[in-house]
């Protein structure tokens, strides 16, 4: 159920990124899409009443394995958030530059290129 909602969020983002005309809305669509995937990824490791996956000398390993959440998706999500941040700041910088050149955020008015 919750995975389906992630997927719906993903599709909303995809719609925003592909069908909207305003650059800011396109950027927001991409961000929503990316965060839907991040949410999905971090939910992979989620466990009800789980504990933080940190080992110390006193931990009982069997109990730990039964209760701890999976740390790998958390590491992956952190990495993909950082990558998303990089893309987002690059996109915003390009959007500012485009606004400077064209005086609008509307992509239908930017058509110097044909392809």
């Amino acid at each position: 159920m919750i995975y389906a909602m992630c997927f719906i969020l993903f599709l909303i983002g995809l719609y925003g990124a592909t069908c909207k005309k305003n650059i800011v809305k396109i950027i927001l669509g991409l961000v929503v899409m990316e965060y839907a995937v991040n949410l999905f990824l971090v939910l992979q490791g989620w466990r009800k009443n789980g504990q933080a996956p940190i080992l110390d000398g006193r931990t009982n390993l069997e109990e730990f394995a039964a209760r701890a959440v999976d740390p790998v998706p958390q590491a992956l999500v952190l990495t993909s958030i950082v990558i998303g941040l990089g893309i987002l700041s690059l996109m915003v910088a390009i959007a500012i530059r485009l606004y400077e050149r064209y005086g609008t955020f509307d992509v239908t008015e930017m058509k110097r290129l044909k392809g």
């Binding site: 933080a52 700041s89 530059r97």
Partner: protein, 166 residues
């Protein structure tokens, strides 16, 4: 806003920011150094450290925060953090012929003064923290300073310093 008298926000914001900036900075450093023992680490801590400077920029205007951490220095720190991280990874080859080898002895954190218990991981966290703090601050300051403005009928990118003069 009252640009003529004083850049930045109202007195209340400035006072609160003045009190809090040290604590926020310290909390960021704490998160960085405790990253291997508790949730947190280089990225989260670096973001908090960068937010100190963002807060200073919002409260006092960018002159104040650029005075503390110049743009050139920030970009140098940015590169330095990344190079430190790589250096730690390459040192693994020097020690044990394996890239990213955890070559410092690992200990279980018991008792006092055993903070650095996970080998190279705290060092990596510090490197990442420096990198993230510097680059986030740079992104913020660059996007905050630049404005698109009509100058004699043509749109130009101007930094806020130039705008004030005109």
């Amino acid at each position: 806003m009252n640009q003529n008298k004083q850049p930045g926000m109202s007195l209340i914001v400035q006072t609160v920011a003045r009190w809090l900036k040290g604590f926020i900075f310290l909390y960021g450093v704490y998160i960085i150094f405790y990253g291997h023992l508790s949730p947190g680490g280089g990225f989260a801590g670096g973001v908090i450290v960068a937010s100190t400077f963002v807060l200073l920029t919002l409260a006092f205007g960018k002159e104040r925060s650029l005075g503390k951490l110049g743009k050139l220095l920030a970009s140098e720190l940015d590169s330095l953090g990344a190079l430190m991280f790589l250096l730690i990874a390459v040192l693994g080859i020097a020690w044990g012929r394996i890239f990213f080898l955890n070559f410092i002895e690992k200990a279980v954190p018991t008792g006092n003064f055993k903070l650095f218990s996970a080998g190279i991981i705290p060092l990596c966290n510090v490197a990442i923290g420096i990198k993230v703090a510097a680059s986030l601050f740079m992104i913020f300051i660059i996007l905050a300073v630049i404005r698109v403005q009509e100058v004699k009928g043509r749109r130009r990118l101007v930094t806020t310093e130039k705008r004030r003069k005109e």
